[in-house]
Amino acid sequence: MADAIKAIKKRPGAMTFGDATSYRLPPAGVVSILHRISGLLLLVLMPFVIWLFDKSVSSEVSYDVFRAAFAAGIGFVPAFIVKLATLVLIWAFLQHFCAGVRHLYLDVTHKVTKDFGRQSAQAVLVVSLVLTVLFGAKLFGLY
């Protein structure tokens, strides 16, 4: 009886945040959680995107404001912070986009083997990071 109670007490129960941070995730799991994180980032940064769209496209005057935000800052926000926010935006978009394409590809082709899941997840991580570095270097004027 005592053993039975002990066995019940040892059941893991609901997953906690502590569990989530201690699990060793496979690449597909990393892509999965990054899909959620990048999606939330895009949601939070949505007003920033609309602001960029508004300033860049509305008029020549607003276009100059858009350019100046990246060159000299806007209001109390220095240009570096504007560029940093844009870099986060670029990474979140690319990560979400690449992982989304993987999702659609898996759905359409039914390629649901363990191997392909791992390889495609690794490809998503590599492609989105490489593209982020390329766009980021351009953003910070490295080329």
Partner: protein, 120 residues
């Protein structure tokens, strides 16, 4: 009307799971198409100044595609954030507050984006 009695009666499921799953993919494809349309036009030869950038959004088909994309983002983001909140926020009251906040946030963003789009 579909038969929903006897052996054909559906006793489980509201089926919004399938609808949301499909909506998530359809809206994703629409947003991907918009992304490709932007990238192709930006990469066309010539200096990318204000006139070329604004010119991209001057075409009627581009305005329509942008409008559809804004609607797609609204729907896609709602399905996504609802899934995340259902998974991580177990307190019903807190979840309701956050879900309402997400809806207000999304509708406000969509309204602002449409205001910008329609004043072009």
């Amino acid at each position: 009307m579909a038969i929903n009695y006897g052996s054909k009666r559906i006793v489980v499921g509201a089926h919004y799971g399938l609808r949301d799953w499909l909506a998530q993919r359809v809206t994703a494809v629409l947003m991907a198409l918009f992304t490709v349309a932007i990238i192709v036009q930006v990469l066309l030869p010539g200096e990318l100044d204000y006139y070329r950038w604004a010119g991209i959004f001057a075409h009627q088909w581009m305005k329509v595609l942008t409008f559809v994309t804004i609607a797609a983002i609204l729907w896609h983001a709602w399905v996504g954030v609802r899934d995340v909140l259902m998974d991580y926020v177990q307190n019903v009251g807190a979840r309701l507050v956050l879900q309402v906040a997400a809806i207000v946030w999304l509708v406000a963003c969509a309204g602002w984006a449409l205001q910008v789009l329609w004043s072009l």
